[in-house]
Amino acid sequence: MRWLSALLAGAVVGCAAQPATQDTSSKAAALPVALAAPYPSTYKPQPSAPTLIRGATVLTGTGQRLDDADVLIAEGRIRSVGRNLEAPADARIVEGKGRWVTPGLIDVHSHLGVYPSPQVRAHSDGNEATDPVTANVWAEHSVWPQDPGFTTARMGGITSMQILPGSANLIGGRSVVLKNVHATTYQGMKFPGAPQGLKMACGENPKRVYGSKEKFPSTRMGNVAGYRAQWVEAQEYMRDLAEYQRKADAGEKDAKPVKRDLRLDTLAGALKGEILVHQHCYRADEMAIVLDMADEFGYHVSAFHHATEAYKIANLLAEHKTCGAMWADWWGFKMESYDGIQENIALVDAAPGGCAIVHSDSEEGIQRLNQEAAKAMTSGRRAGLDIAPEHAIAWVTANAARALGILEQTGTLEPGKMADVVVWNHDPFSVYALTDLVFVDGVVQYDRSKRGSPESDFLLGQPAAPGVTP
C-alpha cells in the first residue's frame, strides 16, 4: 500500500526544479537584494590523494569508448584519460581490469529530501499546494539531508542531482542542485556554482489540484493563462527595477526603491536566464504551447520533464535546444501519459541536435539510471536506430549536466572537470552491474567492499535495519 502514497506523491506532486543560485554576476545587481547567493554552499571536498584507475573500459560521456584505458584523478579533478598513464608516487591504484568507468551519473529530476523515506505525513515537504503559483519557495528549504535515499542513490552511481518541488502548481518554486555527499545540512551538499532551476507544470496536476477545490485553474487554458499573467507581472517588475536603477544612477530625487518580491525575483531570474526553466509536461501539444509562450516572453525552456510524448515533436524540441528528460518505460498512470512508448528517449535522441535525458522522479529509479538508459538504448536498437553504450551514457551524464547548467564542471571525464567518477564491476548497461567505487570530487564516497553503520541518522540504531546478514 506504500505504492498508493508514492503514486499520489508522484502523480499529484510530479516535478519541479530549482537549483541553488550561486550567481556572482554583476547584472544581478539590478534586483533589489540581487540574487547574491544567499544560503551559500558550504560543501568543500576533503583533500584526497591522487588515484589512478588502470586498464578499464572507459565511457567518457563525450561519445568515446576507450578500452584498456586509465583515468587519473588528482586534486579532486580529472587529470587525464588515456593509455599507460603515469601514476604519481603517492597515487592510489585501482585495478580496472574487467571493470567499466563512467562519469558520475546525474539525475535531473528527484524529490529526495523533499519527499524522503520514511514517507510519513510529517515528511511531505515537496508541494506547497496552497496556491497555484509559489515561485517564492525554494525546494532546498525542504530538503532533509538524512533521507536514506541519498545513500542508495549514490550506491547506484548518482553523484549530482536536481531536487525539485512537486508539480501540483503551475509554478512550483526553485530547485536546487546537490552533490550526492552526506552532510548534516543541505548547504553541505549544495553544488557550488550551479544555477537554480524553476519548476513549472503543465496539464493534469495543477488543474486537478486546484480544480477539485473549485479554484483557478481547472482547465488547460486556465493553466496557460495562469503562467502568462505571471510573466507579465515579472516583466513589469523588471521594468520598475530598471527604472529605479536608472533614476538612482542619475541621482534623481524621485527615485523610489521597488519593494522586493520573492515570487517576482524568481520569475525575473528565469526571464533573464539566470534560473533555468524545467517544465513538467507530458503531451506533445502542450509542450508546443509552452515553447510558443517562451518565445512570447523571451525565455528558454531548459528541459521538459516526463515528456512521454516528446517523440511526437522530437524535431521541434531539438530546434528549440530544449532537452527531454524522460523515463525508459513509464506510461498510462494517468491520461496524459497514455501514449508513452519505450522508444521515446531514443527518438528524441535521434532528431538532429536532439538532447535526450533519462530521469527518475523516483527514489527507486534513481538507483538504477544506468539500467534505465540500457532499456532505452535497447528499445531504440530494436526500432533500427544505431545506439552504442558510449553514446547512450550521455543520457545520464553529459546531457543531464547540460540541462542543469553544470556541464562545464561535471558530466564527462574531460581533464579539468570535477572528478565525479563511477567504477562499475562490469558493463553498466547490464542488470547485473553494481558500482564498486563512487568518487565525488575525487573523494571515495562509496566503496562496495566496505560495510559500515548506516549513513542516515534515521537508520542508525534501528533493530530492524538490514545491514548485517543474519
Binding site: 500500500m1 506504500r2 505504492w3 498508493l4 508514492a6 503514486l7 502523480a11 523515506s117 520514511p118 514517507q119 510519513v120 536514506p148 535515499g149 542508495t152 493534469e204 486537478r208 508546443a288 517523440y311 511526437k312 515533436i313 522530437a314 524535431n315 521541434l316 530546434e319 518505460d329 513509464w330 506510461w331 498510462g332 498512470f333 494517468k334 491520461m335 512508448i341 522508444e343 527518438l347 535521434a350 532528431a351 538532429p352 527514489e363 527507486e364 538504477r368 539500467q371 540500457a374 532499456k375 535497447t378 530494436r382 526500432a383 533500427g384 548497461f429 547490464s430 542488470v431 547485473y432 553494481l434 534515521f458 537508520l459 534501528q462 530492524a464 535495519a465 538490514p466 546478514t469 543474519p470
Partner: protein, 420 residues
C-alpha cells in the same frame, strides 16, 4: 488461402494467430521442471500443447520451424499481482475497477468479473514476454465523505494474456500492517480481531445473530468458507517482521494455506516462513524504509529467503498495471544481490504458478502441458534482452501493440525531420 489470409490479417492487426504446429529448433530450454535446462533442444508444439522436447526432433510435414540459434526459451513470464485489465488509466474513476468502496467486508467481491481482456496494457505486456498474471483487488481507505474498503480486499484470479477471460483460479487478498490501519479502526491489532470475527461468522453462522453486528453477508460467509476449505490461497500483504509472525500464527491456528505479498522484512523471519512452507511474493527493488513497517527493507531480501528455503516469487510493489513488463528486471536485480539465477527465473515462472494453482498450465515447459513459452534474444533477466516469440496456449502472439503502432508512426516523422 482465405484461411491463411485471415490468419495473416489477425497476426498483423494484433490478434492471436491460429494454433499451428511449430517446431522450435536448437534452443537453450529452461524447462523449470525436473528436466532442468536442456542445451540444443527442440520443442514441438501441436494443437496448443507441447508434444515433445528433445534433440533433433523430426519435423512434422506442416510444421513451421523457428530456429532459436541456441537462444533461451523459458516458460511465459508472470506479470505479478496487478490491476492489468482492471485499470486502463490511472487517476480516472471510470477506468478503474480494482477497489471496492462500500465500507463493508465483502470477500465475495471478485475482480475477475471486471477483467477487460482488451486492455491496451495486456498487449503491451505480452509482447515483452508476459503470458500470465494475477489480477488483484485493492483496499483503499475511505474518508469522512465516502466509505472505503476493508482489510479483506476481495478475490483475484489468474489471467492469461491472450485476450481471454479470467481463469477459475481464485485467491483471497488481505491487507495487514500499517498500510491497513485506516481499514481497521486505527490499529493493526484490530486486523486480527476483525478477521477472527469474520472466520467465526463463516464457520458458525448461527452463533452470530444480531444483523447490525455482522461483518459478512451470507455470500461473504460462503466465500470465506470456500477459501477456508481450500478454494485458493489467502494472500496477506504485510511487511513488518512482527506482523508476519502474527499472520503465521493466525494461519497456523486456522489451518490456512497462505502466501505473503510485500514482505519487506520477510528475510528476518525466513526460517519460520520456511518451516511453515509459506512463499513470499516480493518486490525485488525494495531497499528503502518507505514506511515504518519496512525499516528492514533490503535488496538481499530474495537471496536471504531463498537461502533459508523459502519459495520466492516476484511482483511490483504497486499493482499499477502499466509497468508489468519491468518485473523481469527486478528479478535480475535480485540476482545481482545474491539470488541464484535459476531461483530468480523460478520466481517469474514456476513459483507463482504453483502458489496460484495453475502449475498444470503455466510456469514450466513440460510434455503434455499447454505451450506457454517465450523465445528470448538473450538472457531473459537482462535489460538488453527482449522477447522474440511469445506463445500462449500454443498460439504465437502478434509482436504488435498499440505502442509499436505509435512508435512506427512517429519514427518515420523523426527520420523525415517532420516530428513537430
Amino acid at each position: 488461402m482465405i484461411r491463411l489470409l485471415t490468419a495473416l490479417a489477425a497476426f498483423l492487426l494484433g490478434g492471436p494467430t491460429l494454433a499451428e504446429t511449430v517446431l522450435i529448433r536448437n534452443a537453450t530450454v529452461h524447462t523449470m521442471a525436473d528436466t532442468g535446462t536442456l542445451e540444443g533442444a527442440d520443442i514441438l508444439v501441436r494443437d496448443g500443447t507441447i508434444e515433445a522436447i528433445g534433440r533433433a526432433l523430426a519435423a512434422p510435414a506442416q510444421a513451421r520451424i523457428i530456429d532459436a540459434q541456441e537462444r533461451p526459451v523459458t516458460p511465459g513470464f508472470f506479470g505479478g499481482l496487478t490491476h492489468l485489465g482492471l485499470e486502463e488509466i490511472g487517476l480516472e474513476p471510470t477506468a478503474e475497477d480494482a477497489a471496492l468502496k462500500l465500507g463493508t467486508m465483502r470477500p465475495e467481491f471478485d475482480v475477475a468479473l471486471a477483467f477487460n481482456p482488451d486492455s491496451v496494457a495486456i498487449g503491451v505486456s505480452r509482447v515483452e514476454g508476459v503470458t500470465f498474471a494475477v489480477i488483484v483487488p485493492t483496499a483503499e481507505a475511505g474518508s469522512s465523505k465516502a466509505p472505503g474498503g476493508t482489510i479483506i480486499a476481495g478475490q483475484g484470479s489468474v489471467v492469461a494474456l491472450n485476450g481471454g477471460a479470467a481463469t477459475d483460479s481464485r485467491a483471497l487478498f488481505l491487507d495487514f500492517g500499517a498500510d491497513a490501519n485506516e481499514l481497521s479502526g486505527g490499529s493493526r491489532a484490530a486486523q486480527y480481531m476483525l478477521l477472527k470475527q469474520a472466520f467465526l461468522e463463516a464457520r458458525t453462522p448461527k452463533a452470530v445473530l444480531p444483523d447490525d453486528q455482522r461483518l459478512l453477508t451470507p455470500a461473504g460467509r460462503q466465500t470465506l468458507l470456500d477459501f477456508i476449505g481450500g478454494a485458493g490461497p489467502f494472500v496477506f500483504d504485510v511487511d513488518r517482521a512482527a506482523d508476519i509472525r502474527q499472520v503465521l500464527a493466525f494461519a497456523r491456528r486456522e489451518k490456512l494455506r497462505i502466501a505473503l505479498s510485500g514482505g519487506a522484512e520477510a528475510w528476518r523471519v525466513a526460517s519460520e516462513l520456511a518451516a511453515a512452507r509459506v512463499p513470499v511474493i516480493l518486490d525485488g527493488l525494495e531497499d528503502l524504509p518507505l514506511g515504518l513497517d519496512s525499516i528492514g527493507a533490503t535488496l538481499e531480501n530474495a537471496a536471504r529467503l531463498e537461502r533459508a528455503g523459502v519459495d520466492v516469487a516476484f511482483t511490483m510493489d504497486s499493482p499499477e498495471p502499466h509497468n508489468v513488463r519491468k518485473l523481469r528486471q527486478t528479478a535480475g536485480v535480485a540476482v545481482a544481490h545474491g539470488l541464484p539465477w535459476d531461483a530468480a527465473l523460478a520466481g517469474l515462472t514456476r513459483v507463482p504458478a504453483e502458489i496460484f494453482g495453475v502449475a498444470d498450465r503455466f510456469g514450466t515447459i513440460e510434455r503434455g502441458h499447454r505451450a506457454n513459452l517465450v523465445v528470448w534474444s538473450g538472457d531473459p533477466l537482462e535489460v538488453t534482452s527482449f522477447a522474440t516469440h511469445v506463445f500462449v496456449d500454443g498460439v504465437q502472439q502478434a509482436d504488435r501493440s498499440r505502442q509499436t503502432e505509435l512508435r512506427d508512426r512517429y519514427l518515420e516523422r523523426v527520420r523525415a525531420g517532420t516530428a513537430r
